[in-house]
Amino acid sequence: MIQQFVIHEEEYRRITAVCDRLTRDANAKSVFLVDKNGQLIASSGATDHIDTTSLASLTAGNIAATGGLARLLGEKEFSILFHEGERDNLHISIVAQKVILVVIFDSRSSLGLVRLRVKKASEELAQVFDEVQRRGDAMGLPSPFAEITDEDIDNLFN
């Protein structure tokens, strides 16, 4: 059996609610939640002008490279990254050692406020992802794709 990361309706709703609240409370421009393999899980705020797929992939690459550096230095991980730009800043943190929380903010907010709000949001998100993990372990994750046929797959390429 291969591992799958399955997000259900209720979890998605809770995750999105936490991201929405974080965007408001941190006075951020946008918030993204990305899995460590580079797939976007949820987003909130002003995301229209951003290539969210690329952002997710590059963020995961960034975290992976930083994790590699941490291990070289004997650290478990560097759990927070901060990139400061002329207009926008990027706050990246690891939640529950599994997912990556990205906050984009400008001068209307501050690093201190973002860090404070991220801490609270991370605790809530960690709880959701713990439940996702437990449900997965308990149910053995039956694939929603168990019913597809070879013909369905072939049709993708026609």
Partner: protein, 194 residues
């Protein structure tokens, strides 16, 4: 690890193009990007050196359509092939669902192919994957060059698992989509079997 978002009815799988330096991994992705309609693909990211050698990875998101109402997306990555980028190569394999091994058909690159295949085995194992069971397709690239080894000989040396294999000339697009379809199919079959 496939990511399945039930509320959005989306599945995303990760495919990594692996192989020795200059074998044509990036060229495969560039051809797919060039020949796919903009609606079916996102932007291609290439983290490369000033001389256009892959430094960290190339990334191309691709939408293949729907299966039973699920949007089926593939994230294609290529690794840096040069030997000294092994730490980066290892990172890219995290969460991989299927691998395309791009072999360089040139006779003087045989050792590099064998070394890269062994490196793939070791790096997959670090993430808990087994080269003998993971969805895998092998592409023999640069078939148009005069000193290319016969496919049969390459196959005997590299394809001991007897996985799907394709001759290719990636710069001209020959074999590129055949390879992609084969790995996508293997990955989806594996997702189905759970």
């Amino acid at each position: 690890m496939p990511f399945i978002n039930l509320p959005l009815r989306e599945i995303t799988c990760k495919i990594v193009y692996y192989g020795p330096g200059l074998c044509g991994k990036t060229t495969n992705l560039q051809y797919i990007y060039a020949k796919t309609s903009p609606e079916a693909r996102g932007n291609m990211i290439a983290l490369a050196t000033e001389t256009d050698r892959t430094l960290f990875f190339d990334f191309l998101p691709l939408g293949l359509g729907e299966i039973r109402g699920f949007k089926t997306r593939f994230h294609l990555y290529s690794v840096p092939g040069q030997v000294f980028y092994d730490a980066s190569r290892k990172l890219i394999l995290r969460g991989v669902d299927g691998v395309v091994f791009v072999a360089d058909s040139l006779r003087d690159r045989l050792d590099a192919n064998l070394e890269s295949m062994e490196n793939l085995r070791v790096n997959l194992a670090e993430h808990g994957y087994d080269l003998d069971t993971i969805p895998l397709v092998i592409q023999y690239n640069k078939r148009d060059l005069p000193n290319a080894m016969p496919v049969e000989e390459l196959s005997r040396l590299l394809n001991t698992r007897k996985v799907p294999e394709f001759p290719a000339v990636a710069v001209k697009g020959e074999g590129v989509f055949e390879t992609l379809k084969a790995i996508a199919k293997l990955v989806l079959q594996k997702v189905r079997s759970g």
